[in-house]
Amino acid sequence: MLDVLTGGLMLIGALFMLVAAVGLLRMPDLFLRMSATTKAATLGTGSILIAVAVYFGETGVTSRALATIVFLLLTAPVAAHMLGRAGYFQGVKLADATLIDELAGRYNLVTHRLESRDIQPASNEPAGEAEPS
């Protein structure tokens, strides 16, 4: 019974990691690739760690597995957020399928200040937006 649970969890974990890898290859732009990988990988790693904890059934192993999961959940989104933000500043192209980009034109590209409404309508050029400081 325990073997079935362990095996099932490991298979689920491996499946999600495989999906993350396939998603990395198939998704058309940076943001979609990160969406497909970071989270699937988190859940995959989580399942495998839980499988490890179930298999050994020792307090030391379990607490370490749980701590690893907690730190994964804490760090993965921060890294994804920073990568996505940096990518947006670098002007990474959004996929052609993208329906709408409500962020466009709201960054001051010099000061990196983000407004809640459009700075200048329909202008996303870096030049000319520098304010004398």
């Binding site: 499946l15 198939r26 979609l32 969406s35 497909a36 989270k39 989104p77 407004e115 809640s116």
Partner: protein
């Protein structure tokens, strides 16, 4: 917060007295301590600790369910022969203002597969989220606001 510490101490005492140091036993001790504190709550000043613990548990369950559903959705899309995605960068007006709430909300959104928290505006009134599937912008906004933001507000209140 003080009640949470007390509850944890009661759980530790339970572990020490029973002599079995396992996570399950800790949870059992925590539940015992929780009911003990609940029975004696009229002896102390009123508190929202008890409803809060229930809210946090509810939130964890809600989030796990959301996580699994979204993961399966991404799995289906990635493995289907045609990539049926409709990505967008959506601006979501915020009601929460504190650093903690925005950080928590952003992390939860990023952890949910298919959505990625990009940035929050300087005046903290709008959050920008990249998402993999948008059928209806307003429906997506209200799903984030009703599902995540409302619960985050409840927990941190």
């Amino acid at each position: 917060m003080r009640l949470f510490l007390m509850n944890t101490l009661l759980a530790l005492a339970w572990i020490a007295l029973t002599g079995t140091f396992t996570p399950v036993n800790f949870l059992f001790g925590f539940a015992l301590g929780f009911s003990l504190l609940w029975f004696t709550q009229r002896l102390r000043p009123p508190t929202n600790y008890f409803s809060k613990v229930v809210q946090v548990l509810e939130f964890v369950l809600f989030f796990l369910a959301e996580l699994v559903v979204a993961n399966i959705r991404v799995l289906v899309v990635v493995l289907s022969p045609r990539l049926s995605i409709s990505p967008a960068v959506v601006a979501i007006p915020l009601d929460v203002r504190s650093d903690t709430a925005i950080t928590l909300l952003g992390n939860l959104i990023t952890l949910t597969p298919g959505t990625l928290y990009l940035d929050v505006s300087h005046d903290r009134s709008v959050m920008y989220v990249h998402t993999m599937f948008v059928d209806d912008l307003d429906a997506f906004r209200s799903r984030i606001k009703q599902g995540f933001e409302r619960r985050v507000m409840e927990i941190l209140r």
